[in-house]
Symmetry: C2
Subunit: 760 residues, 2 copies
C-alpha cells in the first residue's frame, strides 16, 4: 500500500501535469488563430466577428504581447465572475444547472471534510491497532482510516454518529438544491419568450382511418375533443431516406470544396481521384468534375425523393405535432388521456424543434415495449459480460492472428520492438477502443429504445453509463475480477454477506481510488480545457475545406456538453466521496479539489465554448438527484457491512434505519419536486396566456406555428450555402479579433474581462 | 405423509360438511322469518316488501311446504342464470367483476389440470424413483408428483416445457381478462347515468390566504384557471366531533327503543337501569326517562356543535369539492397539475359521495408522507414480528396470570376441566383473536395512511393482507418457523439458495395444502352462504329494537363484500395452484372445486345479499392482476430452485427467461390497460357532454351538484326516524312475503325463479 509520501508524490505529479495543461491552454488560447477553438460561443452569438486587417501580419496568427502570458490563470476568476442569471441567459438553463452539480459536490463534501478531519481522523489516528500488529505493512493513510480501530471497539460510535450526521447533511443539501433548481426551472419556463413547443403537443399512434388521411383525422379529432383550443397541426413525414441523401450530398460537397481549394492553390494541375472505395482504387478521373457530377446526380435523386415523400400517403407517419391557441390548451392536452384505448392518441409535450429526434417518431406502441425489453436484457449483458467479447477479440488480436490475416506484415511484426509493443499494448488498446465507443453504443441502444427527443436520449444513455461505471469501475475495482465473476459470487452469497464482502475491502482500496481521482479526475478536467481534438480538427478543416465565412462557422463546431458521458463520471466521485467519508476521510480533499477544478473549468467552457444543441430546462435533475441518493444508500449499506466485519454488528439495527430514511427522503422529494420537471402547471400557463393577450392582442399565432415542426430537410436553405464573400476567406489561417464587443450590454461585463487579457 | 386414501377420506368429510352447510342453508332460508337475512338485497331494492296478513299465523314464520325442501340445491342454477349485464345492473360493476376473479381461476386452472393430468402425471407416475428407495415412506400423491423423478433425469424436460406452457396460458388468460374488464369499466362509465362525481374534482391542500376565506380562494383560483368550465364548489367542514355526537345519540335511541318495547310488552312494570358504566352499577333510575333525558342533552350539544362547525373559520378544512360545467372540464382538472408547487392545489377525481372517507380529507402533504413511512415500517414489523406480542400475551394468559388478576375466580379455574381447557385452548384463542382482528388492524393502518375514499382504503388493506398471507400462511407453512425466523434465515442465505430451500420443501407440503384448501376453502365458502352471524344479529335486533319498518331495514343490514380480506385469500389459491401445477398436479382439482363452489356461492350472495356501500367501477382490477403476476413469478422462481435441488441445474438459464418475460408482460399490461382504471379519457367525456347537451339542454346542473358533497351529518333527515306505522310492526318476528314481485321488469326473470321455490 502506498504511504502518505507516495500519495504526496503522486499528487505533486498530477498537479504539475494539470499545470502543464493549463499553461499549454494559456499559450494556445492567446494565439489569435486558435480563437475560434477556444471562444466559439462568442462567434456564434455574433459578439466576436471576422477580423479586420489592422496590425502586422504575424500578429494575426501569434500573440506577441508577452505580458498576457504571465497572467495565464486569469481565466479562472473571469470564469467565476459571470453571475448565474446572466449565465442562464448566455448559455441556457441546462448548462447552468449542469455546473451546479459540481457546486453541489462542493456543498456536500466541504463540510463533510471539515467534520471528518476534526472528529474522525483523531479518533482513527489514536486507535492504535495497526501498530500492535507486527507482521503487517501499513501506511499512514491506513492509520487515518477506520482500519486503525480495534475490532468491536467503542470508538465505532463516532463513525456511527458521523454516518448519521453526514447522511442528514447530504439530504439537507440535496433537498435545498432540488428546491432551488425546481424554482429555477419554473422561473425559466415562465420568463421564456414565446416558443413553439409551449403551444404544441406531439401526438403519437394516431389510429388509421379508412375514410380519412392522417391529417384530416387529427384535425377532426382535436376539433371535436378540444374545440375551444385547437389551432393547427403538422403531420410528420418519414424523411429518413431523404435526410440520408442530403447528408451524402454534403459529404460530396466537402470533397468538391477540398479539390477546388487544392486546384486554386496549384492552378497548374487539376486534382484527380479514383472512383473506387475511399478513392483508393478504381479508374482515375478528374476529381472536380467527378464530385460535381456526383452532386448533380444526388440533387436529382433528392428532388425525386422529396416529391415522393410529399405525395406518397405511406410516407406520412401516424404522428402529428398539434398546436393550440393557448399554452393552457396545450398543457391540458399534454397531461390528459385522449382516447379510451390508452395506446392510441398518446400525447406528450412536444420537445422544442431542435430537440426532436425525428427517426423515432413512428414506432408503434407494442414494438416500443418489445424494444425496451430487448434493450434491458442487452444492457444487462453488456454490463456484466462485456469482457467476454473483449477477451475474444484480444485472443484474436495476438501475433499469430495478425500474421495469419496479413502475412506480408510478418517481417515487420517479428521485429523485437514491434513485437513487444503489440504484445504489451494490443489487449489494452482493444479495451480502450471499446471504452471510447461505449457512449456511442449506449446512445445507439437508447435510440433503439425509441425516445423521441435528443434530451431524453441523453438522459437514458447517462443512466446506462452510470450502471456500467458503478458495476465495472466501482465494484470492479473493489472486488477484483470481472463483473461477471462478481455477479456469480454475489448470487451465491447471502444478502447480508454481500455488503460485508465489499465493505471489508473498501478501506484497502482507498489509495487506489485516490490515484484514480488524480489521474482520471484532475488530469481529465485539465485536459478538457485544452480541447485538443477540436483544436486539431478545426485546423485541418480550416486548411482544407474552408472557403467562406459560413464554412468556417461549420468548421468551428463547438459541440455541446456530453451530458450522457460526463454526468455518470461525476456521479462516480459522489459515490467515492460518500463511501469513503466515514471510512477513509483522507480521500475527501482529493474529491474537493476535483469538484472545484471541474467547476471552474466547466464554467469557463460553457461560457466560452459549448453551444447546446437544445434546451430541456434542466429536465435531467431528477436523474442526478436519484443517482446521488443511490450513492448514499450504497455507502450506508457498505458501512453496515464493514461494521459487522469489524465486529461491531450490534450497530446494524441503528445503521439499517439510515437507508430506510434515505429511501423515504427520496420518495418525498420525488412527489414534492418531480412534477415540476414533468408537467406544466395550468396556473403558470394561464398567467402567460393572459399576459400575452394583453400585450399582443393581434398576434398571428397560426403563422408563427405553421412551420415550426417541419422536418429539417424540408426547411428551405438548410443545405444551400451562401456564395463566397471575399478573397480573405480563402486564407486558411484566420486571425480574429473582437469587433462588436460591448455591442450587447447583457454580455458586456464578461466580454471586457476576457478581452482585457489579449488586447494590446 | 397422507396417502391418497387419507386425502379421500378428508375430502369426503369436507364434502359432507359442506353439504351439511348447504342443507342448513336450504332449511333456514326457506323459513319466511329468515327471508330478510338471506334476501336483503331485494328488500333494499323495494322488490320484496312487508308481508300481508293472509294465511295461517304459523306459516308466516315457518315454511310448511315440504316439497320445497327437496329441491334444496335449486339456488345454484338460479344463481348462475342471471346474465352478466343484468348482474352489473343489479349489483354494480364492483361485485360483478369480483366474482369474475373466481371465474378467472377456473379459466386458468381447468386447462392446466387437463394438461397436467394428461402429460405430467404419467411422466411422474412412471418415474419410479420412490419405489427404489427402501427406507422411505411415501404416498401415492408423492408418486404422482415431481418427487418420483430421479435426480438429473431427462424427464424434467417435460416439466420445463409445461412450465412454459402454463405460464403462457396464464398470461394469455390474464391479458384477455384485463382487456375485457377494462372495456367493461369503460362501457360502465360511459353508460352510467349522471352522477355528481363525473363533474367533480376533490382539491386538497388549498394554500391559506391572508385576505380570503378558503371558499373565496377556491372560487377565485378556479374562476381564473378554468374560466370556461368552473361551476361551483363545496368546502369541507371538520365535522368529526359532530359525527361522533350523532353516533352517540343513535346509541341512546337504540336503548330507548329497547326499553319502550319492553314496557309495551309488560305495561305493569316500568323498566329501570343504572347510571354507571354499561348499566352495571350506580344509582337506579327509570330507564325510559333516563334515555330520553340523555337524548335531549345530546340534541342540545349537537345543535351547538352544528352551529360552531358552520360558523367557525377553523372548522373549514383546506379541501374543497370543485364541480365543473362539463365532464370534460372535470376530467381536465383531475388530470392536470394546477400550481407550480406540486404539493398545493392537488386535484384528483372525487370519489362518489358514498365513497368519501371524510375524516382523512384534511391531512397535509408532509404529514401524509411521514404517515406512510411509519405505516410501511409498521407493516414490516407486523408481518415479520407479529408472533412476538402474541407470544407475550400468551405467556401472560396462563393460569397464574389469570389467578393474579381475578383472585376470586381461583376456585373455578382450579377445577380440572376448566384448567385443561384454559391450558389447551387459551394460546390458540389469543392467536385466533389476533387473526380475527387483523383485517381491522390493517384497515386502521390504511386509514392512518390517509386515503380519502373507502374504495382506496379497501384496496390498500387488501394489499397489506396479501403480504401477510403470503409470508405467514404460504412461506410459513412451507418453512416451518415464524416469519421472523424465516427472515433471519433468508438474509443469511445467498440469493440463489433461497428458492432452492423453499423449492425443496414444496413437494412435501402438498398434502398439507390440500387439507388446507378443503378446510379453509371449501368449508369456508359453504359457511359463507349460511350467514350465521348476520342471522343471529338480525333476530336479536328484531326481537329487542324493531318498532318500525325503518328499524327493520336497519336491522337487516346486508353488509357488503369484504374485498379487503376476501380477495387476498383468493390470491392464496391462485398462488398454490400456480406453484403446484408443475410440481404436484394432484392439488389442482381441489383448487378447481374451490373456485367453482366459490363462484356459485358468491354469485348467489351478490344477487341476494350484499349491498355495496360504494361503486368504484372495478378500480381494484390492476391490483388483482398484479398479485396473480406475483404468484406466477414466485412459482417460476420456486420451480427453478426445485429443479436445481433435483440436479437439473442446467435448466436454470431456460427457466430464468420465464420471470423476465412475465415481468415484461406485466409492464406491457400496465401501460396498455392501467390508464383506463386511473384516468378518464377526454374523448369519452366529450361524447357524454355532447349527448347530454342535446337531450337535456335546460338542465340545472348547479342545483343538481349543490348539495352532492355535503358531509352526511349535515344532510337533513339522516338521523331523523319516521314515526311508527302500525301495530303490526311491534311484532318481533316478522313474516314477509313478496308483494311487488315483477314490479320492475329488469329483475323479473330472476325474482320469479327465487319465488317459485317458496310460494305454496
Amino acid at each position: 500500500m502506498a504511504s502518505l509520501g507516495d500519495i504526496g508524490v503522486g499528487a505533486a505529479i498530477n498537479i504539475l501535469s494539470a499545470f502543464a495543461f493549463f499553461i499549454a491552454f494559456a499559450i494556445l488560447r492567446l494565439q489569435p488563430f486558435n480563437d475560434r477553438v477556444y471562444f466559439p460561443k462568442w462567434y456564434l452569438k455574433g459578439i466576436r466577428g471576422s477580423p479586420t486587417h489592422s496590425g502586422a501580419f504575424v500578429s494575426k496568427f501569434v500573440n506577441l504581447d508577452f505580458r498576457t502570458y504571465l497572467r495565464f490563470l486569469n481565466w479562472m476568476p473571469a470564469a467565476l465572475r459571470m453571475p448565474e442569471l446572466e449565465l442562464i441567459d448566455h448559455a441556457g438553463l441546462d448548462s447552468a444547472v449542469y455546473i451546479r452539480i459540481y457546486l453541489l459536490g462542493l456543498k456536500i463534501f466541504v463540510p463533510l471534510t471539515v467534520f471528518a478531519f476534526s472528529i474522525l481522523v483523531p479518533v482513527n489516528w489514536t486507535g492504535g491497532t495497526l501498530e500492535h500488529i507486527k507482521d503487517l505493512t501499513f501506511s499512514d493513510i491506513d492509520k487515518l482510516s477506520i482500519s486503525n480501530i480495534a475490532s468491536g471497539s467503542n470508538r465505532f460510535w463516532a463513525h456511527l454518529v458521523m454516518a448519521y450526521a453526514f447522511s442528514f447533511w447530504t439530504c439537507y443539501v440535496l433537498y435545498k438544491e432540488y428546491k432551488i433548481i425546481a424554482s429555477m426551472r419554473l422561473h425559466f419556463l415562465a420568463s421564456e419568450n414565446r416558443r413553439p413547443d409551449q403551444f404544441t403537443v406531439v401526438v403519437r399512434n394516431v389510429p388509421p382511418d379508412p375514410d380519412e388521411s392522417v391529417s384530416e383525422h387529427v384535425e377532426h379529432f382535436f376539433c371535436v375533443n378540444h374545440p375551444d383550443h385547437y389551432l393547427t397541426h403538422q403531420v410528420v413525414y418519414n424523411a429518413n431516406k431523404l435526410a440520408k441523401l442530403v447528408d451524402k450530398k454534403k459529404g460530396w460537397q466537402n470533397w468538391l470544396d477540398y479539390y477546388q481549394n487544392k486546384h486554386a492553390r496549384n492552378p497548374a494541375k487539376r486534382p484527380s481521384t479514383k472512383t473506387g472505395f475511399l478513392g483508393l482504387w478504381g479508374k482515375s478521373v478528374d476529381a472536380i468534375d467527378y464530385c460535381a457530377a456526383e452532386i448533380e446526380k444526388l440533387c436529382k435523386e433528392e428532388v425525386i425523393e422529396r416529391e415522393r415523400v410529399v405525395s406518397d400517403v405511406k410516407a406520412i407517419m401516424p404522428v402529428a405535432f398539434v398546436s393550440f391557441k393557448t399554452r393552457w390548451g396545450a398543457a391540458v392536452c399534454a397531461q390528459t388521456q385522449q382516447s379510451s384505448n390508452p395506446t392510441l392518441w398518446l400525447t406528450e409535450w412536444a420537445p422544442e424543434p431542435r430537440d426532436v429526434y425525428w427517426a423515432n417518431l413512428s414506432i408503434p406502441f407494442v414494438e416500443l415495449t418489445i424494444r425496451r425489453l430487448i434493450m434491458a436484457v442487452t444492457l444487462f449483458f453488456l454490463t456484466f459480460f462485456f469482457m467476454i467479447p473483449i477477451t475474444f477479440v484480444q485472443s484474436l488480436a495476438n501475433l499469430e492472428g495478425i500474421e495469419k490475416v496479413v502475412p506480408f506484415l510478418k517481417v515487420i511484426i517479428e521485429m523485437p520492438v514491434v513485437k513487444s509493443f503489440i504484445q504489451g499494448f494490443l489487449p489494452g488498446i482493444v479495451l480502450k477502443i471499446f471504452l471510447i465507443f461505449l457512449p456511442t453504443i449506449l446512445m445507439t441502444m437508447s435510440k433503439i429504445e425509441g425516445h423521441t427527443s435528443l434530451s431524453a436520449l441523453e438522459r437514458t444513455s447517462a443512466g446506462k453509463y452510470y450502471l456500467f461505471v458503478l458495476v465495472n469501475v466501482f465494484l470492479g475495482s473493489i472486488i477484483t475480477g470481472t463483473a461477471f465473476q462478481q455477479l456469480h459470487k454475489f448470487i451465491h452469497q447471502s444478502a447480508t454477506d454481500i455488503p460485508v464482502t465489499i465493505g471489508e475491502s473498501i478501506p484497502m482500496k482507498a489509495t487506489f481510488f485516490i490515484t484514480y481521482i488524480m489521474v482520471d479526475g484532475w488530469a481529465g478536467v485539465a485536459a478538457e480545457i485544452l480541447r485538443l481534438k477540436p483544436l486539431i480538427m478545426f485546423h485541418i478543416k480550416n486548411t482544407f475545406l474552408v472557403k467562406t465565412e459560413y464554412d468556417r462557422q461549420q468548421a468551428m463546431d463547438p459541440g455541446s456538453l456530453e451530458f450522457a458521458s460526463y454526468e455518470p463520471r461525476i456521479q462516480l466521485y459522489f459515490l467515492l466521496g460518500l463511501v469513503y467519508s466515514v471510512v477513509t476521510p483522507t480521500l475527501l480533499p482529493f474529491i474537493i479539489v476535483f469538484f472545484s477544478l471541474a467547476y471552474i473549468v466547466f464554467r469557463h467552457q460553457i461560457i466560452n465554448v459549448y453551444n447546446q444543441q437544445y434546451e430541456s430546462g434542466a429536465a435531467f435533475w431528477p436523474d442526478v438527484h436519484g443517482r446521488i441518493i443511490t450513492a448514499m444508500i450504497i455507502s450506508q449499506l457498505l458501512l453496515m457491512g464493514l461494521m459487522s466485519a469489524k465486529g461491531a454488528a450490534q450497530s446494524t439495527p441503528l445503521l439499517i434505519v439510515l437507508p430506510i430514511l434515505t429511501i423515504w427522503f427520496h420518495r418525498f422529494c420525488k412527489s414534492r419536486f418531480e412534477p415540476a420537471f414533468v408537467k406544466f402547471p395550468l396556473q403558470d400557463a394561464m398567467v402567460k396566456d393572459t399576459l400575452e393577450q394583453a400585450t399582443e392582442p393581434s398576434l398571428n399565432l397560426k403563422g408563427y406555428l405553421q412551420d415550426a415542426y417541419v422536418h429539417p430537410v424540408f426547411k428551405g436553405g438548410g443545405f444551400e450555402r451562401p456564395p463566397a464573400i471575399d478573397e480573405e476567406e480563402i486564407n486558411p489561417l484566420v486571425p480574429t479579433k473582437r469587433t462588436s464587443r460591448r455591442s450587447t450590454p447583457g454580455h458586456s461585463r464578461y466580454g471586457s474581462e476576457v478581452g482585457s487579457e489579449i488586447d494590446p
